[in-house]
Point group: C2
Chain length 470, copies 2
């Protein structure tokens, strides 16, 4: 039986996501409708119809202002700016969808963990078990300028995030017993106080007494997603992530990243197959190859490369306005993604690329593989990644929204289904079940190993350890 493929849609709750200038075409509705809940509900329902596992809401705080030393290009191109807060957009979608997961990017650092725990418990309640959390620890300089976060060294950031995760796991997994809400009319007991525990967390960075303010939601801990690429980030993902969002241009790079991820997962004492590697891709699909190529050409015409370079500037802290079009790519250094030339070498022969070649590439799909072709060609390419790079699925970045999703759902999904590549999720409704078959986080996950020194109501104390609060 062929390996199944997970499908996630990638999006920003903003004027654009990863392709810029597309708003000039009325088929791209994002720029005009990203503030409208009708747009989001309709888009989510399209993806749900296509059997997508989840919507992945990317997010950042601030505006990118490295390119040309200002935010001019970001604002002019509407590059992920202006933006809505995606957690509210996810909540607005909750009631009128039934099966699609809602993964929201949220920083483990900007907000008190006690509050973050309640926020995701609420989203999991409102969606009846479909909440996912893309845990980010990085601080954009633009965020810092706006009073978001503090400037601590990269690796310490992950140490602090590790403690942050311990706090939220304690709140989600250990603070409330499963049967705490009893609704016992005889004794007028809504919840049994002896089954609701303080966590009494006192660590280096956080001090949180508890108990958790929310009763357990269906998943308890939301489905945990991460995107760390550095060695420390990879270890963090191995310990915490149930799915990892990957950006790779070649099958060889993706295979290497996936291998490193599974090793980090095993090193954290977990089943290495329990973390799902999800690769960002962009697909331009039509009934015939000629139509698909024409569509890509049309997108290229609309494209606004200043938006892409403004984003890349924000990601790498390099002002790309200083580079010449004929400059060789291989020599360009980048802080964020090793060297840019190396990164792009996965795209057929692109180790010979110039800066100008790269700009052309960025126009359509920023830093991810772009597949242009018929439904069969796209399915062939996707299968190749799955089978050769050991990835588990794709995060589909749209060029135009919702048109790119609609094309994929109407053309590629039936082809993948015909090939037996998609899960038949049937009645499955929690996000985690779609990935792991289980509603609750896996028993070998770190979330279960946190201990609480919980005072039970009335002053009695009980050390609660192990798999389940007792």
């Amino acid at each position: 039986m062929p390996k199944k493929i997970h499908l996630i849609s990638f999006i920003h709750a903003a004027a654009s996501s990863m392709a810029y200038g597309q708003w000039k075409d009325t088929e791209d509705k994002l720029a005009r409708e990203y503030t409208d809940p009708n747009f989001w509900v309709k888009t989510a329902q399209t993806l749900e119809r296509g059997g997508f596992d989840a919507i992945f809401f990317a997010d950042a705080h601030g505006v990118k202002d490295v390119y040309r030393g200002s935010y001019e290009a970001s604002v002019k191109s509407g590059m992920q700016f202006p933006a809505c807060d995606p957690i509210l957009v996810a909540a607005a979608i909750a009631r009128e969808t039934k099966t699609i997961g809602l993964i929201v990017t949220w920083s483990a650092g900007y907000f008190p963990p006690y509050h973050t725990a309640r926020l995701f418990s609420t989203l999991d309640h409102l969606t009846n078990g479909r909440a996912g959390w893309n845990v980010v620890t990085s601080y954009l300089s633009a965020g810092l300028k706006n009073g978001m976060g503090d400037n601590i060294p990269h690796d310490e950031r992950y140490d602090r995030a590790d403690e942050y995760m311990d706090v939220v796991y304690k709140l989600w997994e250990k603070s409330w017993d499963d049967d705490a809400v009893v609704l016992d009319k005889q004794t007028s007991t809504y919840a049994d106080p002896t089954r609701v525990h303080k966590i009494n967390h006192k660590g280096k960075y956080y001090s949180v007494e508890g108990p958790h303010q929310s009763e357990p939601s269906r998943q308890r801990t939301p489905f945990i997603v991460q995107a760390g690429g550095s060695p420390r980030g990879n270890a963090f993902a191995g310990k915490h992530a149930e799915a990892v969002f990957m950006v790779c241009m070649s099958i060889a790079d993706a295979a290497k990243s996936t291998k490193k991820l599974r090793e980090a997962t095993a090193a954290a004492g977990r089943d290495p197959s329990s973390v799902k590697a999800l690769l960002q891709v962009s697909c331009i699909v039509a009934e015939t190859e000629a139509e698909a190529q024409a569509k890509a050409a049309h997108f290229l015409e609309l494209a606004d490369v200043d938006g892409s370079l403004s984003l890349l500037g924000g990601h790498t802290d390099i002002d790309f306005s200083k580079f010449r079009s004929d400059q060789a790519l291989s020599g360009l250094e980048s802080g964020g993604i090793t060297t840019i030339g190396k990164f792009f070498s996965g795209v057929g022969g692109s180790d010979k690329w110039t800066f100008g070649d790269m700009c052309e590439y960025l126009k359509l799909s920023y830093l991810c593989p772009t597949i242009v072709g018929t439904p069969e060609q796209v399915a062939d390419a996707l299968e190749k990644w799955i089978d050769e790079a050991d990835v588990d699925g794709f995060v589909l970045a749209p060029v135009q929204t919702p048109a790119s999703y609609e094309d994929f759902v109407d053309l590629v999904v039936p082809e993948l289904r015909k090939r037996g590549r998609l899960n038949d999720v049937g009645e499955i409704s929690t996000l985690r079940e779609r990935f792991t078959g289980s509603e609750k986080i896996a028993t070998d996950h770190h979330a279960h190993s946190v201990s609480i020194d919980g005072a039970i109501a009335g002053g009695r104390r009980a050390r609660v350890t192990g798999r389940k609060a007792s």
Copy 2:
């Protein structure tokens, strides 16, 4: 023409709001359904049908644990615990309501102002202009224990909140010009960078560069609600609040509070009638007086006074388990609400109350006037508050949810309408218009007087002051 009455519904997105033990009756659905968006949409639609101006979501972080020195009574009675995050519940209601405002309690202190500004802009976008913010500055000891906020003195808290408000006003009112989003295909300009300004705020407590991450929503600044009772809190309300949530037991007290509020508003250079005084009340209504009294008796039977005393303990930091039932109320000191005896003296003859009498009172409606009777009797009582205490409307605390709302909408609203007491809001859809007739915050409000030293894209700088960014 009689003075019009504003109607707001009060609620916690929690197992209970202000009346405890009611979950034992299946008519009280809150305890079982507060995590379900279907419940919230249906309840909001009921209130919308009744012409309510807004839903007011109260909130706090933590669990009350003063009574008997533990959270036992809070958990056992389900006293506002467990709880959902109300801002997500508000977002979940957005799309399927059209006119009702959604006022959410949110702390000016726990979260970076840059983030708070985007959050409320998003809610205002998703609701198309129906977002309200109940600004709270107070820190519960329970919140502090959970790593929420820091323990700074009361008055300094307001000083810091004043600066917090300046930051968000700058982001909401000054960062984006009205016509910044141009969608000009010819020049490939989504937004004009020269019309999007940094705020460059550098104050004692906050440093925020901007620009605001959201484009202007219909109201720009959400409708600002406050509930400060102390002299410093009253000054804060006079400066910032467009509506104030009041808790008073007597017409004399309410008249005094309203007078002080209008004076503080005038002192802040604003039209004193532009701040709306909203009094919390509880109404138990039925077709006949006998039925209404029977209903009240039934509610009393269900009531769980431990929940009420646990809440009062949290509000006052007094452990009421130490008091005897026959103790005179007049001697009881309270940190939060002057003395308790004085507070209750407004309820007919209650200066002679014992602690036991107060407990009986708290069972139904906690700290607010309770009106029991026919639609005519309830309307009579409400009119008396409006006409004699100069209040502008009511915040209706339900005993059972949504039953108390349904009763009010079906029985009291028609009576008030008949008496010409309700506004005919017709096509009005923004929250502020319902209160002030204007979509944007009043020109004499402090939000307009903040100045930004805004760098315009490309390094040019412009001092933007006065009424409108230029």
